[in-house]
Amino acid sequence: MVLAGFDRRDLGMMVSLTRMSLTDRYLGSALGLAWAVLSPLAMLGIFCFVFTYVFPGRLPGREGTLPFLIWLISGYGPWLSISEGLGTATGSVVGNAGIVKNIAFKSELLPIVSAITGLVPLVVAFGLIVVLQAFGGIWPSPALIALPIAIILQIVFVSGLGLFLGALNVFVRDTALILPNVLTIILFASPIFYPLSAYPKGAQAVLVYNPFYVLAECYRQPILEGALPHLWTLGYMTVISVAVFLGGLWWFRRLKSFFDTRL
């Protein structure tokens, strides 16, 4: 079976590469895989501290700190995972020049693998949410079965952007340098730390289509409300993700034959 130019062999390669980059990322440091858990945990902890004690935020219509914390993590966790995925995807081709130059495989797989390995912080965030919910006596709702859909949408979306950025970075190395700043801007411009209602009505109508926000909503609906995500968010996100992925793939394949000159 061939899908978008990938076949079974590529799937196997993708699995090997994913395993490889996971071990690479955490190998050689004293705590090894523990950092995979500790680092997102630290980030989540800092933001929870800041937004509950320094700038106390309240969720409209909800009492107490706990629901706010869960709301915060269920939005910031996916974001951490998206930015991690985008960051590694951007450097994936240049960083793996050794493999790209010496092994015959589809280098398109590298940004996709980055999007997948970026899921580690998401898993940590999920773990934290489960603990907090158990603490607050909240039972997991059956709506959580919708989460895999959100995860798949995220992988496709991040892969698409990653394909674009990863290929661009081969030619314009500044891409990887600017990316963290751009990501920070997007983070604070998106209603992830604050509710959408914080914006004026006019802006809301536009911002509601921000894919980063929509993606966060796909996670927040099942986790917080125990409801399936709104159908339009899923539909909208599917269209956006697939379009971004195919666009990124087209872009990557267009530039791929020129990688040889730049690596």
């Binding site: 493999i99 130059k101 030619f171």
Partner: protein
């Protein structure tokens, strides 16, 4: 009978865009036309028969490594077709790719996984790699602690651990100590004898002569010479202008001597050829016997020190260069036969007038067979000195 072909390359070309800071943006965001390109490979055609290694010789930057990567599918060709039959293993550069924190064992595991070896077979292969590389306890150390030679051992052992049908090797055997090199050659020969084929790319002509029957010389992305490995190495070393120049109009050979000649060790060898002297000169003949064949290398076996006189006046002569008690063993040799005369300007030097030489592509072959009997003098000889 048509021979099985392992690799076919027809009309393969590869261009690299010359990218600088400015054109990088242009390349990324606008049309690709207008970006200056460098033609790394131009219309490369060749075939590798099954069970053979074909060599590629060339100077640095001639396009050898690009060609190898293009054959291996790491680079995509811009034109032409490449067909490979069978499972492929490529050693494109000796640097260890990947994370240097990995131990030798992890590194080997990783490469095998990437090559799609199933986990079950891997353990067996890892044991083989461990043994062949002779890394011993260092196999469990991170690869960044390895010396260049040790990395080469690990890399070669891993890339040849499985039995592949086609090997692509780049300068691989230039590193590593003699002992390991010898092992590598043995392993490659063993693979070839089991029907594997491959391409060997190097500027080490001796390796080409050892491993390949045919070789190509590549320069500025084009094949400029194809032929037997020995001739290709010669061409690579000295180029087109290495062809000997002869002083014309004084003397020449009328006919080509018997070719190939056969002889037996210990017997007298007489090389006969008819020559014509056109101008009065003190013409003589010299012969050189060289052995140059895969598996042995290149060495001069025998050189006639004395000039065999031919004649001084114009006319036809029979040249007879005599090698008494041929002191060389069974094998295939090359004979170069030349007509010479003393150089009038430089006493002691000779001027070549005409000749047959494999350097020019018309050398004479000599097949030395087994000696008829074990009597007489055959080298090596052992003397015993006794006091009377």
């Amino acid at each position: 009978m048509s021979r099985a072909i392992a690799i076919t390359c027809s009309g393969v070309s590869k261009r690299f865009a010359l990218v600088d800071q400015g054109s990088a943006w242009r390349l990324a965001f606008s049309a690709h036309s207008g970006v200056p390109v460098f033609e790394a490979l131009k219309n490369i055609n060749f075939e590798v028969p099954k069970g053979q290694f074909v060599g590629f010789l060339g100077r640095n930057g001639a396009g050898k490594s690009t060609l190898l990567r293009t054959i291996g599918g790491v680079y995509s060709a811009d034109g032409g077709q490449i067909a490979i039959k069978g499972k492929l293993s490529g050693l494109y550069e000796l640097g260890l790719v990947g994370n240097p924190q990995l131990t030798g064992r992890q590194y080997a595991e990783r490469l095998l996984t990437i090559h799609g070896e199933v986990r079950r077979r891997q353990q067996e292969m890892i044991a083989d790699i461990h043994e062949f590389s002779e890394l011993g306890d260092r196999f469990e150390d991170p690869v960044f602690t390895y010396s260049a030679g040790m990395s080469a051992r690990l890399f070669f052992s891993t890339a040849t651990a499985g039995s592949y049908d086609v090997y692509l090797l780049d300068e691989v055997l230039a590193v590593g100590d003699q002992h390991f090199q010898a092992k590598c050659w043995r392993r490659l020969r063993d693979r070839v004898s089991r029907g594997a084929s491959g391409v060997l790319v190097t500027h080490d002509w001796a390796a080409i002569v050892k491993m390949c029957e045919t070789a190509h010389v590549i320069d500025r992305g084009q094949i400029i010479f194809s032929g037997p490995a020995a001739n290709a190495s010669r061409y690579h070393l000295y180029g087109e202008d290495a062809k000997e120049t002869f002083e014309p109009g004084i003397a020449r050979f009328v006919a080509r001597p018997e070719d190939p000649m056969t002889a037996r060790p210990g017997q007298d060898l007489v090389i006969r050829a008819e020559a014509e002297i056109m101008q009065p000169a003190n013409v003589g003949a010299v012969a050189v016997i060289e052995r140059l064949q895969p598996g042995f290398g290149w060495e001069t076996e025998l050189m006639s020190r004395e000039i065999t006189p031919v004649g001084q006046k114009p006319g036809r002569y029979m040249v007879e260069v005599r090698v008494p008690h041929l002191p060389i063993e069974r094998g295939s040799y090359q004979i170069s036969l030349h007509l010479v005369m003393p150089d009038p300007k430089l006493p002691g030097r000779r001027v070549a007038l005409d000749g047959f030489s494999w350097l020019n592509g018309d050398g004479l072959r000599l097949e030395v067979e087994d000696p008829l009997n074990r009597e007489g003098l055959t080298l090596p000889v052992r003397w015993k000195v006794a006091c009377a």
